[in-house]
Symmetry: C2
């Protein structure tokens, strides 16, 4: 049994918890939180402990899955954990991945452990799709579309506007643009050609709806470059129709083969998830298995999904996999 | 530059030739054939040599891509080549993969080389999709659909019927069945529920069309278990409308996440190829790069795509890949 610890107990931590509890070859040792563990009851019944208790449990844990936030927590805590434990995270601030990798690599090398960063579905599964597609079809162009699904970062941005009580933002891919890509046209898109943004907003009683809408659609980076719709709803409707965290996405590559590039090809990967954090948690659990395998082979240092042999994610052995997967 | 040799010069060999000639980091040393090389001119102008010349060129070749047929050639020649060279093949007789693997592994270990078997798209890319999908979503079911595309084995089977001059067989997935899978119904299918078979047949002048049709639709394994349509056409129409070798396919997995399996998810990979052998050749060229990398790390023995770190297929270095792929 691979002994797993979870660090951080938000939606993602709960997703990992479910995946680990259901895995045939894993045991959940505990959940470690930087909040006060008093009053936190885990969904599986496993014990919830203060984060700093981790440092006394080196002999009890094979892999720590770090489920804290990407913005400020992971850059600090993943290297810290990597110096003592094999660790997996879902760091997703694309521009800062090289820097985060270097820090985790250094810490993991110093501790003689494995640190896998940026797993999940994007980065993660989608990164794998991009590298396989580019390698199989070197002459071509890759596009990533996200949605329809809830963007938590964009929902949070709306909630910070004065007069907003609650909000949900859906990222929606432009179907006509996906069709162009699938036809091999290799289009050049503006930001607004690829995705639209749908906002469902509960205004406070004294909230100025016109002002809120203006602030949303003009918000730089988040909304200004998109076609954005704003729909005001009441709390009951938010609760009934917008409580879930579904997501979806597509990676599409079109390109040519042949001595003269005479033949067209399209490769596409898509996913559709009722719950983004539950699925991401499931991918992280499989990645923890890979970390355990790499460590078992005597490897140490930083890794990403691009370095990991695919079989390492599976509970089955190679002989069995060659029989039923190939 | 990775120095590549091609063994076997049919459609697949030509596909590999195009991919290698277009690769920035590869050099095509020669094409080796068991037919008489006299009168064979390669499409790229590279020299065509007798197969046995290979044995004098150990110092000139980094990887041999074996493009011979799966039925009888690869089981014999891939182990033979693996004892002297790094080698890649596209062995696709699923039931015999374990046996073929063992032979190639033994030969490659004895020669201190790398032997990668069963690359291409199925087995190959589709195998990768199956293992990632199963690992990310362990509670679920995976389905593979092929087509619409030309099955060369089935076309050959029709051509062997007396009174048939030429034929093309298309394998066509049943769209309604794919939709059921996408909806997460985890259906149980009979063979005929997943694919239909469309046959375009040129009869000889004295051919008995009714007898030909009966022989096709009743042919065991190939057609009897499918809904099969037979359309007689003339040679001109075959030449004009059925000359290409397009193919397509989908791997779809649906499954559940959550402590109680309460949330649904669907993952799907699809490809659409104007030319099956050109794309397969392109995948084999990328696999040769991986063989070269593995050998460069001092590894030896048999491998499949399930063992290979994804980054090894790409001409770019890890640092660059972490920046733009993750």
């Amino acid at each position: 049994m691979i002994r797993i610890a979870i660090a951080g107990y938000g939606n993602l931590g709960k997703g990992v918890e479910a995946a680990v509890v259901n895995a045939p070859d894993m045991e959940l040792v505990g959940i470690f939180t930087r909040r006060s563990p008093q009053g936190i009851t885990s969904e599986s019944g496993v014990k919830v402990l203060p984060f700093d208790d981790l440092w006394n449990m080196e002999n009890d844990i094979d892999v720590v899955i770090n489920c804290m936030g990407s913005a400020t927590d992971l850059p600090e805590t993943t290297p810290l954990i990597a110096s003592k434990f094999n660790v997996v995270d879902s760091f997703d601030t694309h521009a800062n991945i090289p820097e985060h990798f270097d820090k985790v690599n250094e810490a993991a090398l110093s501790g003689g452990k494995i640190g896998i960063i940026s797993s999940g579905w994007d980065p993660g599964l989608f990164s794998l799709m991009r590298i396989y597609m580019e390698s199989a079809l070197p002459e071509g162009k890759t596009y990533t579309f996200w949605g329809r699904g809830v963007s938590q970062g964009h929902s949070d941005a709306i909630r910070r506007i004065p007069g907003v009580k609650d909000a949900r933002q859906y990222t929606v891919p432009v179907e006509a643009s996906m069709e162009k890509v699938r036809r091999g046209e290799e289009p050049v898109f503006e930001t607004r050609d690829m995705h639209t943004r749908e906002c469902f907003v509960v205004a406070a009683e004294d909230g100025d709806k016109a002002a809120i809408e203006k602030q949303i659609v003009e918000m730089p980076n988040y909304f200004a470059d998109y076609n954005t719709s704003v729909t005001f709803i009441d709390e009951e409707e938010l609760e009934n129709n917008h409580k879930g965290l579904p997501h979806a996405g597509n990676v599409i590559r079109s390109g040519v083969t042949g001595l003269k590039g005479q033949e067209g090809n399209t490769l596409e990967f898509s996913l559709k998830l009722d719950s983004n954090p539950l699925f991401t948690g499931s991918v992280l659990a499989a990645t923890a298995r890979a970390a355990y395998r790499l460590f078992g082979k005597g490897e140490t240092g930083g890794r990403t999904v691009l370095d990991i042999p695919p079989a390492f994610y599976s509970p089955e052995d190679m002989e069995e996999l060659r029989k039923h997967i190939l």
